[in-house]
């Protein structure tokens, strides 16, 4: 999977509390959160908490589903049967992750059709990383290593999210995700160790193109993050965007050295004082341009997704018509 810190939705105002009874319910809700307790689907929850979760979980689900597209591009062109099997398994996982997450969102009282409508109409966002093209086979390895690696950093804290159906989905996803990152690194490692100079250059080129978009996956800097404080209060977000980004940089720079590639950041350097790698400024104008719909592949991705949904409509309708017919037959017998 794939989240970017999902605070790219519209800013919502909290409604004033209406009654004493509701105030008491909210007090108990807050107490349970403070106690590191879990909230289940049928429990009382503030409307703003519910809406925040619907937005975040559905954006996360959409990201899984749209994330299948840049990789699907390479199924027929994977270099060996082994790599083709691995890629198919990974893409199937992404589809599965999307389904776990849609199901978690639906426990909050929103329908699958409503969620998909929001994606297909462009109203809902998905991780902007998928609006970049996969130009070479090395891009598929780099997506596993960097993009899934960043996603794992984002997702592990979500297994302790206060909303239990989301947390349970994330446990399952994180368990499956590790293979995605490892297979990516492995594919790149084979090219770096056994490949030609041209193949090694291809890996470096892919790293150069995906490095900065991967850092953007953690979302805007903490100072500009609109939803972070409330989400932290509610136990939805446990570690800040900048802290996760730093953790990712520290882990990844060492992996790049093992791989034998460089990171395209002239300002990257170990800071003895901080005990972390310093890194150069991120081009947030590019991030907002892509989130706003003007990345290299936004239109293509959404069009492919809508076409798949529309082309499958007759199958869904036929399956449902068949099921209804069988049910009537059974009743008559």
């Amino acid at each position: 999977m794939y989240t970017q810190a999902m605070d790219t939705g519209p800013k919502e105002e909290r409604k004033a509390i209406r009654s004493a009874e509701e105030a008491e319910l909210e007090r108990r809700f807050d107490a349970r959160i403070d106690d590191a307790g879990f909230i289940e689907a049928k429990d009382w929850m503030p409307e703003h908490y519910r809406r925040t979760l619907v937005r975040q979980i559905s954006q996360h689900a959409h990201s899984e589903i749209v994330g299948m597209l840049p990789e699907g591009n390479w199924v027929t062109r994977a270099p060996t049967l082994k790599r083709k099997c691995i890629l198919l398994a990974k893409i199937q996982d992404e589809g599965g992750h999307g389904l776990y997450l849609y199901a978690a969102a639906e426990t909050l009282g929103v329908s699958r059709d409503e969620l998909l409508d929001a994606l297909h109409s462009g109203k809902a966002k998905y991780s902007s990383i998928f609006n970049y093209p996969t130009l070479t086979w090395a891009d598929i390895g780099v997506i596993g290593w960097l993009v899934d690696g960043a996603a794992i950093m984002n997702q592990v804290p979500l297994t302790r999210c206060s909303y239990a159906p989301y947390a349970r989905a994330m446990v399952r996803i994180c368990r499956e995700e590790s293979f995605h990152q490892r297979q990516g690194f492995d594919a790149l490692n084979v090219m770096m160790r056994e490949g030609t100079d041209a193949q090694r250059a291809m890996v470096q080129d892919a790293v150069n193109r995906w490095w900065w978009p991967s850092l953007m996956m953690f979302g805007p800097p903490d100072a500009e993050s609109t939803h972070s404080a409330q989400s932290a209060r509610w136990g939805i977000k446990r570690i800040s965007n900048d802290d996760l980004r730093q953790k990712f940089v520290d882990a990844t720079v060492q992996q790049a050295q093992v791989l034998g590639v460089t990171v395209p950041d002239p300002l990257l350097k170990w800071s003895e004082e901080r005990g972390h790698f310093d890194y150069g400024p991120i081009d947030w104008a590019e991030f907002w341009r892509v989130v706003g719909g003007n990345g290299p592949c936004n239109r293509e991705r959404l069009a492919a997704r809508v076409k798949a949904w529309d082309d499958g409509a007759w199958v869904r309708d036929a399956a449902l018509a068949h099921a209804r017919k069988q049910a009537i037959k059974k009743e008559a017998a």
Binding site: W44, A89, D93, A103, D113, E114, E176, A323
Partner: protein
């Protein structure tokens, strides 16, 4: 949401998986499917891609009756003070305490 889209959404099923022979089926999530046969097939694809199970149950979500979370105190708290239901409540002489 229009009635038209709602009418065409596949019904929701709850999925239970038995991890291996000898263990209980355990609830692991839900999915949409047009009928029971398809629900079993899809449960296999969605929830057992890594041999997580050897048997699957699917149940229409609408067929499940659940206790009301609002009744939690009334239903479950009365058991809190019935410590005599547990074997550790009874202090026996050392010689027979393995009983």
């Amino acid at each position: 949401m229009s009635n038209e889209t709602h009418r065409n959404e596949w019904p929701l099923w709850e999925v239970f998986v038995r991890p291996k022979a000898g263990l209980d089926h355990k609830h692991c999530g839900s999915l949409h499917a047009p009928d029971a046969t398809m629900a079993v097939q899809m449960a296999r694809e969605v929830y057992t891609r890594r041999q997580e199970g050897c048997s699957v149950w699917v149940v229409p979500s609408s067929a499940i009756t659940a206790s009301d979370p609002g009744d939690k105190d009334m239903l479950f708290d009365p058991m809190e003070d019935k410590v005599y239901r547990h074997p550790t409540f009874y202090e026996l002489p050392d010689e027979v305490n393995h009983m």
